[in-house]
Symmetry: C2
DNA sequence: CCATTATGCAACATATGATGTTTCATGAGG
DNA sequence: CCTCATGAAACATCATATGTTGCATAATGG
């Protein structure tokens, strides 16, 4: 698949695709080839790569929208809040990462194929996007 | 306390303070008075108000930085991912809210006072910010 | 061997939301 | 009645995410 083939149905730009895929390529999950007939190819066992692996490959962006503003604040109120909620934030983040790690790409692939069948029509990537 | 007295040590603007406090006032946790000698006063029992109450009063902003992009997407891949992670997001959010609900403002107040003593000096709000 | 086609990379543009600022109206004291 | 406070709206600024453009590089296929 070329970046353009991927970008079109997702309604975005080929360069954006390349930016995202770069992380996956660096981890060896996909390979990219230049030139005529080039593009992206899978380079991993889908049953051995989880959404957590993907998450990490993409740079482990923060999963929480809030958290301690400062790790070691001078403000005593902030210190108190950090002490009260710090563990909660860590726990919530850890929970999400564990769940991410329980989902393999193979599971998603299987699910997508089942949904395709359930929809009862033949499809190409192009029209799986409404 | 006036908005200005609160804003200064937090390094922000009085208007920003008013914006935030408006939510707390609407819930009756604080009261505001205009004119000479006016400002903000506490109007609740600190032991009966939790950080979750504050969170809700502030408009329940999303606690997660990610989540389902669409609730009922046409894209089958997105459907599969939503199915795989939707519960995880809900669980993580629920966990955080529960933890928020376990912390009362009274607990924070006590903690702040202990930290004041531990620091071994007398303080005013002005210099509790480093 | 060279035109085509793809990625890689950097720079720039745009959109969005959070935060900060200004201004004016209103009300409460002294 | 002058001062000082909040309330509200409009505007400015900033940071980030996303999208776009341009060009270099590499590989294929005719």
């Amino acid at each position: 698949m070329t970046s353009e083939m991927l970008a079109k149905p997702m309604g975005t730009n080929p360069v954006v695709i390349r930016r995202v895929m770069a992380g996956l390529r660096d981890q060896g999950y996909v390979r990219s080839e230049k030139g005529h007939g080039g593009g992206w190819t899978l380079a991993c066992d889908l049953s051995r790569v989880t959404l957590r692996d993907v998450y990490v490959a993409l740079g482990s962006p923060s999963v929480l929208a809030m958290g301690n503003r400062t790790e070691t604040p001078g403000c005593l109120v902030e210190q108190a809040v950090n002490a009260a909620l710090g563990q909660a934030f860590e726990d919530a983040e850890a929970l999400l990462l564990v769940r991410f790690g329980e989902v393999t790409l193979a599971m998603l692939s299987t699910d997508v194929h089942e949904r395709l069948i359930a929809r009862g029509k033949s499809h190409h990537l192009e029209n799986t996007h409404a």
